[in-house]
Amino acid sequence: MISYLVFAGTIAGFYALLSLGLVTAWGQGGLVNLGLVGFVGLGAYTSALLSGAGFPIWIDWIAAAVVSAAVGVALCFVVRNLRGDYLAIVTLGFAEILRLAETNEKWLTKGSDGISGIVAPLKSDLGESFPFFYLIMTWTLVGIVAFLLGCLLRSPFGRALRAVRDDEQIAAVAGKSVLRLKLQAFGIGAALSGLAGALYAHFTSYIAPDVFIVQLTIYIFLAVTVGGQTRLAGAVVGSIALVALLEASRFIAAAIPGLDAVQIASLREFAIALTLILVMQLRPEGAFRMTNERSGLSASRAASESCYGKRAIVDDAT
């Protein structure tokens, strides 16, 4: 049981990294990236191939994040005039293109057979305690990323980004470079997706194009929606809640008497859909709602600052 919980915790860590990326691009930047899973795959393949070529793992992971970010920025630049639903459709299609490329470029990716035997860092040295090590390492990374993003989103950059999300034209009139801010936010999101993909690849030792299908994107959107789409804390809490829901529903559904295997499996999918509907109905803003941000120019400046430290990681403009 313990090793199972450790495993589930590690998966929650990967989801948390993905959710943090999505909060940055979607919650803070307003860029709907339905191609999230494509960047996860890109990072996973980059890291797996480099590690197969003999590069040390830390280089592979950095490369995974860099390649995903670069491709993300390039994609965002190409579709810079698209917003909302249109951007969502393009990114969804882009992830599918990446998956088909992974399937068909057999010389590089071994096609649908996938790449197996991806080495895990220190696995042979650590033996039994490897899962604990990976859990701690993943969550340390989540902590570092959340802290850095928190600083970034509180900075003028974060405020400008939120201004772009709320109204591009006003942000442009105020002299902000809308395109650059969008590219940066999308790039950060893509980089985190790539990093999570690399961590996943080295953890499970096997990747194939079929791993990176749209289901995972939907899970992450669910996690972020449940947690609160604009808040870093929401991303982390939402990811943990998501994995708890996914895994606990196995035991609950199996405990209901009189159902056959297909009904149990369908009930699990149903529970996930129901959760999303309930959250949207009862608390559409998620567990951590958007917070107001004081301008800092009002008379109550001192009061706003005392509140500043105590409140959750990211404040938000309205």
Binding site: S205, L216, V237, I252, D260, R268, A287
Partner: protein
């Protein structure tokens, strides 16, 4: 106020989570004692789920039979089914649950090749046997330390058999029509190779499945004027292709695989459309009693080969554990005893209960199941698979050859 609402929300979430966890813990403790658990990871939802329901039913039949015959070492067996959601990532989570929480001795079922490859490392690391019905050749090349047994013929073997049979039927020009699957290109290469070696020609076209018409694909195929068309698809797309071939007036031979040309297909298209199509079915020897018994127990007119394999996964695991009279009932015991009850000089038995009783009293048994003779090469691949070559005649499948 907002904080209060959030607290209530989080508390509600935590409460539900805690409830789930406690129920799961009590379950795993309550059952720690008795039954020997055998895991199944099968596609019950998602793109590859067409055989999932019958796979689960077939496994249940095996569980009932083994337990009615006294169980394994005086303990009942218990099937624990997990859905792979047609996704390797979900399958990895399911496999962790089966190995870490349920402590299963073996995992059976795994169908899609990507799913099998993804859970394989967990199985050999966790010393759990993996019985798979996947076809990709790469699976048994993994460093699995003997923990993988594959009951399905490989893609290469199926492709080769179809190709050889088509040549045997006197065809010279082959054209392959199949959907975008991991194996489509391998099939084209393998079958074309066989035709070229026999002095013929071969080519192919990979199409997108879920289309409502394949008129242009069929036209392209007929431009090559082939005398045999190999259909590599599943039932939904194959039935459309067959209709379009019929409309286009194609009169040459048609040959496909059991996942595309089967009873479901004969019901889906008019008899004149499917007339004469050949099908390659991996099977036990002709008129296998084990197969007949299984379909009568499941109250079905016929059953796909994959569900038969899942039935055999459960039986093989049970027999292997029953033979290992000493030591712990674990995956290593299954691995070390599986070949001893499925092949060799022992008495050929095709009834699970009979075989179990013979194994318990120390007899030598060679179990042949509904899916085939179940003999394994050193790398875990099944060998000596029989293929039944069937042809549709007046809307019914008729056996033409077994070999």
């Amino acid at each position: 106020m907002s904080n209060l609402a959030r607290r209530t929300f989080l508390q509600a979430g935590l409460g539900v989570g805690g409830l789930m966890l406690s129920s799961s813990l009590s379950r795993s403790w309550a059952q720690q004692g008795d039954p020997i658990k055998i895991g199944l990871i099968i596609p019950l939802t998602g793109a590859t789920s067409q055989f999932g329901a019958t796979m689960a039913q077939a496994a249940k039949v095996a569980e009932t039979e083994i337990n009615a015959a006294g169980g394994v070492r005086g303990r009942p067996i218990q099937i624990v089914v997990e859905d792979d959601q047609s996704n390797p990532e979900a399958a990895v989570r399911a496999a962790h649950k089966l190995i870490d929480v349920d402590k299963v001795v073996a995992i059976g079922g795994s169908y899609a090749s990507a799913v099998t490859s993804a859970i394989a490392p967990l199985c050999w690391d966790g010393k759990t046997v993996l019985l798979t019905s996947s076809g990709a050749d790469s699976i048994t090349k993994l460093p699995h330390d003997g923990y993988i047994f594959r009951t399905s013929p490989t893609v290469t073997l199926q492709g080769t058999s179809v190709g050889k049979y088509a040549v045997e039927l006197g065809a010279k020009k082959m054209f392959f029509l199949g959907p975008q699957t991991p194996f489509a290109q391998s099939y084209i290469d393998i079958i074309s190779g066989i035709f070229k070696a026999a002095g013929g020609t071969g080519s192919g076209l990979v199409y997108e499945d879920k289309k409502s018409s394949y008129r242009s694909e069929v036209d392209q195929a007929l431009k090559e004027s082939p005398d045999v068309i190999v259909l590599g698809g599943y039932v939904p797309d194959t039935s459309v292709v067959l209709k379009d071939l019929y409309r286009a007036g194609y009169s040459g031979k048609k040959i496909g695989f059991s996942f595309g040309i089967n009873d479901a297909l004969t019901k889906a298209v008019p008899a004149e459309v499917s007339e004469g199509a050949y099908s390659l079915v991996p099977s036990a020897a002709e008129n296998s009693e084990a197969y007949k018994r299984l379909i009568s127990k499941m109250k079905r007119p016929s059953l796909d080969s994959y569900s038969c394999q899942v039935y055999d996964h459960v039986v093989l695991t049970s027999l292997a554990l029953a033979r290992a009279t000493s030591g712990q009932a674990n995956g290593t015991a299954v691995r070390d005893n599986l070949r001893a009850i499925s092949e060799g000089e022992g008495k050929r038995l095709d009834d699970a209960a009979e075989a179990l009783k013979a194994v318990v009293v120390g007899g030598q048994v060679n179990y042949d199941g509904p899916s085939g003779p179940l003999e394994f090469a050193d790398n875990g691949d099944v060998k000596g698979v029989f293929f039944r070559y069937e042809q549709i005649e007046g809307g019914k499948l008729v056996v033409r050859k077994v070999g």
